[in-house]
Symmetry: C2
Subunit: 229 residues, 2 copies
């Protein structure tokens, strides 16, 4: 069966990368569904962004609550008592939530199983590597195999699509324009501080800014924040 006849499930955070992937999925698959994980992020802005974008694109969005990471605590993305530190030269950044993407994709695969969906899409990317080992291609390929075996699919029965894996942020910005995703990106959320307009200073804002600058495009989110929609 071709992708153009199948349904896929996009792991959607309302961020820049998964928004771009959502547009790619809409172009590539017959039907698209999305799944959002509320894992105790510091800010509600992510969920709001995801809901706004999904509604604009008429993509059904299923939200699951994961209290686990909140209970685990101790890192800057779920624990508001921990300040976000700059990415260290070596070692893991303090925004590392251990196993986050492993769990998201495993949950996504379980949910997809109940929906008869065998194609997952995620915006993880190892090129603009922020120190998250669960975003690397080797990890994802290995997880794809484990999940396929654990759900008793034939070899290659489960596919985790990672269209941004080897793109730089600048390349993914250029690609988002090609895909017609810029309108959606105006509603996407990136800032670790949860600010709107974005703080511009956290590691996530800096990475996003750099990508748009290198692609020679204005970030539609900033245009929207200035009231130029």
């Amino acid at each position: 069966m071709n992708a153009s006849e199948k349904t896929c499930l996009v792991v959607f955070s309302g961020g820049q990368d998964s928004t771009t992937c959502l547009h790619w999925a809409l172009r590539s698959f017959a039907k698209v569904e999305a799944i959002f994980f509320d894992y105790g992020q510091r800010h509600a802005s992510e969920l709001q962004a995801a809901q706004t974008i999904a509604a604009r694109l008429q993509v059904p969005l299923r939200v699951f609550n994961l209290d686990f990471f909140r209970e685990l605590g101790g890192n800057a993305l779920v624990d508001s008592t921990v300040a976000i530190a700059p990415v260290p030269e070596t070692g893991l950044p303090n925004t590392f939530v251990p196993g986050r993407n492993l769990i998201f994709l495993t949950y996504a695969a379980s949910y997809a199983f109940t929906r008869g969906i065998r194609d997952l899409v995620t915006g993880v990317c190892q090129t603009d590597y922020s120190g998250y080992p669960d975003c690397r291609d080797a990890t994802l390929k290995s997880l794809e195999r484990a999940l396929g075996l654990g759900l008793e699919y034939d070899e290659g029965g489960l596919v985790i699509h990672t269209p941004l894996m080897f793109m730089t942020k600048a390349e993914s910005v250029a690609w988002a324009r090609e895909l017609g995703a810029l309108d959606s990106l105006a509603y996407s959320h990136t800032c670790y501080e949860g600010d709107y307009p974005p703080c511009g200073k956290c590691p996530a804002c800096i990475l996003r800014k750099k990508g748009f600058a290198e692609a020679g495009l204005e970030d539609p989110l900033e245009a929207r924040a200035r009231g130029v929609e």
Copy 2:
């Protein structure tokens, strides 16, 4: 570092197999911790069994709530409106919770990461195969690799120990006696119906009964139910 100097984390359900594994872990590792997942099982008996056994053995037990499978619904282990059907000749039994062990082990690995523990122990077993693909050795080996990569451990840095993987139920009963685990097994929980004394008729009770019969031992749980402790 030898196992005898390390701490391990046992994925503990309060059932026969993980109880046996807990005893193996106590014999093999310097320190043992346990983790229990409350995922909307039909009965509270599992948690009660786990707490009783862990307390008797003075093993610290951390309980995490996973609402996900309850929200997913549609199978007999989490949805009390679905009756437990006999294991079919082909295909998956209706007690299959898609991805259950994948998620348990991924969560366990994340929690272990925060505790500095890199050895996980699980009682899964592919020999007395009940139709659960997430209990097979190939699945677990593949998951071990994916989790290790996702948590940025060196090759072989994360180990999932599955001491019962290739044992029949009769062999694991005989081994439980060797390990001195029979006292604990008197408090373990197996019955899918949540009954005490166990119903003796569900697929889980039948498998347990067969194991003790073939090992030529009386089930200490039945002895306890008769008041012969």
